[in-house]
């Protein structure tokens, strides 16, 4: 049952097609990985889904709703939330306040202050940041800032979570922790679509992987199928891959 699907998704920047005619789908309850060399169009695709910028042509639907023409805050209220490749926490306010933004504004109906506070503390507990909730977010380590982003996104009560290079820059131990966190998110009933370079994570937790190259989808399948795929191996030869193990 696809919770998110796209047909012919294309995005031009000037004359260059960053994403070209991509068909994709994500089924409810999956953890789907999106991989490809640098510049393949992965984050661009995420930005199209979350409406950070408008699509050039093609169609995307979330739970049957057409996403074309919607603004980011509307897509969030529909049930899609995300984290960012370059961490975009609200640096000068506390961790709790970061997550409160998601709790207050991420849902389609208005929430009371009490409900928002409860959502926020639950989200913080889920990612393990309760002890740091009063600290200014800029004082946190990079790992914990990423956790803050995840908690903030979770506070919007999403049905689909887009994770953009969550594991970038993490130590192997932190990668394992993050993998466990993502699995727990899926177990809560949230579908996960994740862009990743860290192969250990992709192979470890994704049920299905989509591979982009030069903006086009060149392969799709289970981790076993993808790791055996000749084309995929070729395009990664000479690319810096994080084996992560």
């Amino acid at each position: 049952m696809p919770i998110l699907e796209g047909q012919g998704v294309t995005k031009y920047f000037g004359g260059l097609a960053a994403v070209s005619n991509v068909d994709f789908h994500v089924d409810q309850g999956e953890i789907v990985g999106l991989i490809g060399p640098n510049g393949a169009g992965k984050t661009t695709l995420f930005n199209l889904i979350s409406a950070a910028f408008p699509i050039s042509s093609g169609e995307m639907r979330f739970k049957g709703h057409k996403l074309n023409g919607l603004k980011p805050h509307q897509i969030c209220k529909l049930g899609v939330s995300r984290t960012f490749q370059e961490t975009k926490v609200f640096a000068n306010i506390s961790v709790l306040q970061n997550v409160l933004v998601g709790a207050f504004f991420g849902t389609p109906t208005r929430v009371s202050a009490a409900d928002a506070a409860r959502e926020a503390s639950q989200a913080l507990e889920f990612v393990g940041l309760t002890a740091m909730s009063a600290l200014p977010t800029k004082d946190l380590t990079m790992v914990n800032q990423k956790r803050t982003e995840v908690a903030r996104a979770l506070a919007t009560k999403p049905e689909l979570l887009l994770l953009d290079e969550l594991m970038a820059g993490l130590t192997p131990a932190e990668v394992s922790e993050a993998m466990e966190l993502v699995t727990r998110i899926r177990d809560k009933g949230i579908t996960v679509f994740m862009v990743e370079h860290v192969m250990k994570a992709i192979i470890g937790i994704c049920g299905r992987i989509i591979v982009l190259h030069h903006g086009e989808k060149i392969a799709e399948g289970t981790p076993q199928e993808i790791t055996a795929n000749k084309t995929v191996i070729e395009i990664y030869l000479g690319e810096e891959t994080h084996a992560g193990s």
Binding site: H73, F90, V101, F105, A113
Partner: protein
């Protein structure tokens, strides 16, 4: 709401201080001279303008240079509703109308320009007061045939009391907004507008509403002052100076805390009043230099020094206790 927040020792102290100041201000005209009251009128005016400016530009990071425009709109609203030929409405209603007309203008212009990048907004607001100046000159010269408007005069004391009320309302609004989810939304926009939008914040509406609210108080202040000045014309009402001074005062005072703009406005307003009489050309020049220096060397303003001072003081105190053990107590 959490009541315990309001009964803590610090809150009671602050409330007591505010009350004392209000009592002082309320009784001042009985023992102060007319010119002293006049100085206070200027100070109150600048406090209102500065706090309103910080309400929007301080948190969202969108630099509005249009204070003069909304101030002037309020003034001209008063000129139409409280003319020398006879007031059309009682004074309090005129002040409210001044605020409302500015509010509507801000709403409309905000809807058009706040969807765009901050720089376009700054450009638009900078020229807005110039545009209104030209429009009003045209209107006065071509349509009604004479320049300037005369109003039914009010005394310094009347203006003083009206401005106190407007100031209290402005501060109250600023305080409540800060504490509210609107204030949180504004801060999130200032930190990362992209992320805020993706977390469900309708950034355009938040910006527009806050912009309009801040314009309301600027217009109310203008409507209160025009009758005191008795005569206004476009070069008085839409003078870019009224966009410049709140910026200077806010940057000097610091924008992080609510009292920063108040202190900055009070200090510079008093300075302006006294310098303007003695060094009419030099004082504006020095203010320009002051703004440049403050932005470069003191970007957090006066109140931005407070955390640094608190840290240093805390360090000193900690070292004086228990010989050498540097406990880092969390700041209250």
């Amino acid at each position: 709401m959490d009541i315990s927040k309001f009964t803590s020792k610090k809150s009671l102290l602050v409330a007591g201080l505010v009350l004392a100041i209000l009592v002082f201000l309320a009784t001042f005209p009985t023992y102060g001279s007319n010119s002293e009251v006049g100085i206070w009128v200027t100070i109150l005016m600048y406090i209102i303008l500065t706090v309103s400016w910080v309400m929007f530009s301080g948190t969202t990071g969108y630099m509005s240079l249009a204070v003069a425009a909304f101030f002037g709109i309020g003034m001209y609203t008063a000129a139409f509703l409280y003319p020398k030929s006879g007031p059309l409405l009682p004074l309090p209603a005129v002040v409210i109308m001044g605020g409302l007309v500015s509010f509507v203008f801000a709403l409309l212009t905000g809807l058009v320009t706040l969807r765009l990048k901050g720089m376009y907004f700054a450009i638009f607001t900078f020229g807005f007061s110039v545009l209104l100046y030209h429009l009003m000159v045209y209107y006065e010269l071509q349509i009604i045939g004479y320049r300037g408007q005369r109003l039914t005069p009010i005394t310094n004391v009347t203006a003083f009391y009206i401005l106190i009320i407007v100031m209290v309302l402005t501060l109250l609004a600023a305080y409540l907004i800060r504490r509210s989810r609107l204030g949180l939304a504004m801060q999130s926009i200032g930190e990362s507008e992209d992320a805020a939008a993706h977390m469900g914040v309708n950034t355009t509406m938040v910006k527009v509403i806050t912009f309009a609210i801040s314009a309301f108080f600027m217009g109310a202040a203008g409507a209160a002052l025009a009758p005191k000045w008795e005569y206004i014309d476009p070069s008085v009402a839409f003078n870019m100076f009224y966009s410049f001074m709140p910026v200077l005062m806010a940057v000097f005072g610091g924008m992080r805390e609510l009292y920063g703009p108040v202190i900055g406005a009070a200090i510079f307003a008093y300075t302006e009043r006294t310098l303007r009489l003695r060094f009419p050309y030099y004082y504006m020049l020095s203010f320009g230099i002051a703004l440049i220096l403050i932005i470069i060397y003191l970007p957090g303003g006066l109140t931005g020094l407070v955390p640094t001072l608190k840290d240093k003081l805390g360090g000193v105190i900690a070292r004086l206790r228990k010989g050498g053990q540097s406990d880092r107590h969390a700041n209250t």
